[in-house]
């Protein structure tokens, strides 16, 4: 396996249609996500970006009235086939939400939550996983002396990096980030973006950025969604420098949205 951006397809979305109570929010979408790339999926509000992200690890199953047609293949295997274990799927394809949500327990217990659910009890192993994950999320130095304090007392930016560490502890293959910096200050945002650039070497990352600039800064490729349609996808630099579709250029230059 190559460490740089490869051509290998990690997730393949085929003819995806998505409905909430028969209202179509994603229309006949085809998109490949490559291994070890950062793909940003951007677009104005209500364009289906969050839904697309949540469909990738079937978090949409939790929403009443949600219905999906088409295929999503992870390493060539349909994530909706009956022999898929949904807990395993969500450990492989893990998600950080828009609102930083630490669980009401200690920093350590938050990061160890996922591994413990999957049955890891060994204290030494857990400690190792927690430290490694916090290091990768660029949070270790700030919390190493108070791992057993409540996570609720961390600042917003720290909480969001904790959420990132929490999914890294699952040793996922794909990381989904839904506007992970929308409520954060510029310093916290740049810390998270910095960790993403390192994480790319090990993981495949799909991010819904909270603004167009972030898409430009962090991603290798960018996909523009508008009202459930995939308008354009390509290398980020190209999409930004000379968009093929007028709607894309209008959105990027701020003419609407």
């Amino acid at each position: 396996m190559k460490k740089t951006m490869s051509e290998q397809i990690k997730i393949s979305i085929k003819n995806l249609n998505f409905f909430y109570n028969n209202k179509e929010v994603i229309k006949a979408l085809n998109l490949d996500i490559r291994e070890n790339e950062i793909l940003s999926v951007f677009g104005p509000a209500n364009s289906g970006t969050t839904t697309l992200l949540r469909a990738l690890n079937r978090m949409t199953d939790l929403t009443p009235g949600a219905r999906m047609e088409g295929e999503i293949l992870l390493d060539g295997k349909n994530i909706r086939s009956p022999d898929i274990n949904i807990s395993e799927l969500r450990r492989k394809v893990s998600m950080v939400f828009e609102v930083p949500t630490p669980l009401p327990m200690s920093i350590f217990d938050n990061v160890a939550y996922g591994p413990r659910l999957s049955g890891v009890k060994n204290r030494v192993l857990l400690e190792h996983t927690v430290e490694e994950s916090l290091q990768m999320a660029v949070l270790w130095d700030e919390v190493k002396d108070r791992l057993h304090n409540s996570a609720m007392r961390l600042s917003g930016g720290q909480q969001q990096r904790l959420c990132l560490a929490r999914i890294l502890a699952l040793h996922p293959e794909v990381i989904l980030l839904d506007r992970p910096c929308s409520g954060l200050d510029p310093v916290s945002t740049s810390k998270i973006e910095e960790s993403l650039r390192h994480l790319k070497e090990k993981f495949t990352i799909v991010i819904v950025p909270h603004n167009v600039q972030q898409a430009g800064r962090v991603s290798d490729r960018a996909a523009f969604l508008l009202m459930g349609d995939l308008v354009e996808v390509g290398l980020t630099a190209e999409v930004f420098a000379n968009p093929k579709d007028k709607r894309t250029s209008d959105y990027i230059t701020g003419r609407f949205g």
Binding site: L62, E88, M95, F97
Partner: protein, 280 residues
């Protein structure tokens, strides 16, 4: 055009009204407690606490009634807590709003409003006679369990609903199953609220008389098993006072009852606070 009152004056009047309401309630509460304690405590002796009643309660102590109260309450709580909390979790987590949930909720709300004597009658017919459990701690405890079930269901349901929905999403997104999410996140987060319901339930159990007389009886001797009849402190107090057996001992019993409830509340609060402090 109405009269314009200076907002600051309105503010002052509101403050005075609210303050006096609070002070009045506190006064009332303390008057009752101090009155009973001052009348009762002088008659509490070591003997009173450690002996069983003799001469219908005119002399001797109340040890059997203390034991009876604790036993009946423990049976009720042990039975009602898992049933009530389980129902609350079913209603909030395991089903979507439907006809069934509406019926369960409506039944629970109706049950909460029924006078306790009706529960007593039901317990007498069902547990004492039909199931042949006789007048016993078990019959009394089960009857009280049915009685406090609605309270526990409703308070637990409220408590579970106030757990932020994102906690569920996070737990599921980290590969948690429904059961893991419930035991590791929802129950701990809802515990303070659930305990409030249980404490309210304990209070009602300890204070109950009518339902107890019909189902556990009013025996004076020391209960020896779950199948023994028993008298609780509240029943003992009621009989001592209403039949004019001994007003002094009645007040002493009431004082013990109040102290017992205070101890249970303080103990429960300490436990909850210790648990919650770790998670904040």
């Amino acid at each position: 055009m109405g009269i314009r009152v200076n907002p600051r004056t309105t503010q002052r009047i509101a403050k005075a009204v609210i303050w006096s309401a609070a002070v009045l309630v506190l006064l009332l509460l303390f008057t009752i407690i101090i009155y009973i304690l001052s009348k009762g405590i002088p008659h509490i002796t070591w003997q009173f606490l450690t002996e069983i009643p003799s001469d219908m309660g005119k002399s001797g102590g109340i040890l059997s009634a203390i034991v009876g109260t604790l036993a009946v309450t423990i049976v009720a709580i042990v039975v009602a807590t898992p049933l009530g909390v389980g129902t609350a979790f079913y209603l909030t987590e395991y089903t979507r709003e439907s006809g069934v949930t509406k019926i369960i909720r409506f039944s629970a709300e109706s049950l909460a409003g029924i006078p306790s004597i009706v529960y007593g009658l039901f317990g007498f017919i069902f547990f004492v006679t039909y199931l042949k459990l006789g007048w016993s701690i078990l019959s009394g405890g089960l009857t009280l369990a049915v009685m406090i079930l609605p309270t526990i269901i409703r308070t637990s349901e409220e408590a579970i609903r106030t757990v932020p929905p994102m906690y569920r999403e996070v737990s599921f997104s980290l590969g948690g199953t429904k059961w893991q999410t419930m035991t590791k996140v929802l129950i701990p987060s809802a515990l303070p609220g659930i305990s409030t319901g249980i404490i309210l339930g304990i209070g009602r159990c300890v204070a109950e008389t009518a339902a107890i007389i019909l189902t556990a009886g009013s025996a004076l001797q020391m209960p020896t098993s779950l199948f023994s009849p028993a008298r609780t402190l509240a029943v003992h107090f009621y009989i001592l006072a209403s039949e004019g057996i001994s007003l002094d001992n009645a007040y002493a019993t009431a004082a013990i009852l109040i102290i017992l409830i205070l101890l249970i509340n303080i103990g429960a609060n300490l436990l909850i606070n210790r648990f919650v402090a770790k998670r904040r």
